[in-house]
Amino acid sequence: MTELLLLSATGLMLSLFLGLLRVLLGPSAGDRMLATQLIGTVGVGMLLVLSVLLDEPALIDVALLLALLAAVAAAAFTGQQEARHD
């Protein structure tokens, strides 16, 4: 099981890395934001895997908070856009 979790942690990291390229490439702000959402989702998965792998249950709480606050960030982004363009 440990090997599997190690593999998935590294695989998730790779996934995050690919998402990162999209954040850097853009081209539009929306593209960057959606890639940031991806990083949030990957980050949540990663923290869950790490919580088992490193035997630290508190990381589940971090994952929960990350999930909720990533939603806040996306809301801030689109809310700001709405105000600007309406």
Binding site: F17, L66, L69, A71
Partner: protein, 333 residues
């Protein structure tokens, strides 16, 4: 668990953090920079988790990934649309004199020297002293602290002075925000789907804040993380164009702003009157007192962060009522 097995993971993580930090600083477009910064915050939260520092990871997730992104986006929004164009073309000034180039090199050299000194100091500290004396002192005295989470024990018992002064710094900051005057009107009323998000997100954020406050006593969590989460709920409310965002008016707001420092001081002074050292809790009461102080601190921190997002003194009740009426009319249309 042998940590060397995570070497590839760690390497990629490190690379992402540095890359994102660099990209976010190097871009000239403010909004792009903010989004990169939010991504940076998310990755950093994972990194703190990887370093087995869930307390910091929680704070980073709440503040770095969520709140400061929202704050910075609001700041970009507030800038007048034309202002970014006026200073978007600094190259002309640069080419004028070689003095700038010299200055750039000088700053680079100074930064490198600083980094070198820090690295040397770190290496020195790691190699010379037996660096587990402090953790041992903490774990030896943990029983008397009233909580079982060492981080909370340090923040609110052993080094309570520091935390008190931090709260005082926050109070000063909020006074500065108040001096900016009344807030500008908020955002447009949001569409139904956004509203649907807010309806479940805000109650869940409030619950989570309560949970973090409670869990801080024996596991990672605490007033700072809880306050940031609570503030995030207010931020989301403001984004939907609501003028009432959970902040009370006038006098009550002032009480809440000062509550963190106030309750802390009150507890300290009461203990002093009872013949104990300042903030030297009696072990039997320590747990309850810490919870009391943390609750007050959470409210102050949330109010401070939210006021920072709003960017000024909230409008008076009359204005609020008018805005509310306006909103209702809008939503009826």
């Amino acid at each position: 668990m042998n940590t060397t097995n995570l070497l590839v993971f760690d390497g990629l993580l490190l690379f992402s953090i540095v890359g994102l930090a660099w990209a976010s600083l190097a871009t000239t477009d403010e909004r792009r920079s903010v989004i990169l910064f939010m991504a940076f915050g998310l990755v950093l939260a994972v990194a703190w988790g990887r370093l087995l520092a869930p307390d910091v990871a929680l704070a980073e997730a709440a503040i770095g990934a969520g709140l400061s992104g929202a704050l910075l986006l609001a700041a970009v929004r507030k800038q007048s649309p034309g202002s970014s164009h006026t200073h978007a073309n600094p190259d002309r000034n640069y080419s004028e004199s070689g003095a700038k180039v010299v200055l750039q090199w000088l700053v680079t050299l100074l930064c490198a020297a600083l980094a070198g000194t820090l690295a040397w100091a770190l290496l020195h500290a790691l190699s010379s002293a037996p660096h587990d004396t402090l953790p041992r002192a903490i774990s030896d005295n943990l029983v008397a602290s009233g909580v079982s989470n060492p981080v909370t024990a340090v923040l609110l018992n052993f080094r309570a002075y520091d935390t008190l002064l931090e709260l005082a710094v926050l109070l000063t900051a909020v006074l500065g925000i108040f001096s900016l005057g009344q807030t500008t009107p908020g955002y447009q009323p949001a569409g139904p789907v956004f509203d649907g998000l807010v309806r479940w997100l805000v109650p869940v954020l409030i619950l989570t804040a309560g949970y973090l406050l409670w869990v801080g006593a024996h596991a990672p969590g605490g007033a700072f993380q809880a306050g940031a989460t609570l503030a995030a709920a207010g931020v989301v409310l403001r984004l939907t164009g609501r003028s009432r965002i959970g902040l009370p008016d006038g006098f009550v707001l002032r009480i809440i702003m000062a509550a963190g420092v106030g309750v802390f001081l009150l507890v300290g002074l009461t203990l002093l009157l009872l013949g104990r050292p300042f903030l030297g809790y009696p072990p039997a009461w320590a747990g309850a007192l810490i919870l009391l102080i943390e609750t007050a601190a959470m409210l102050s921190i949330a109010a401070t962060l939210l006021l920072a997002f709003v960017g000024g003194q909230p409008q008076s009740t009359a204005v609020n009522a008018a805005a509310n009426r306006q909103r209702e009319e809008n939503s009826r249309c």
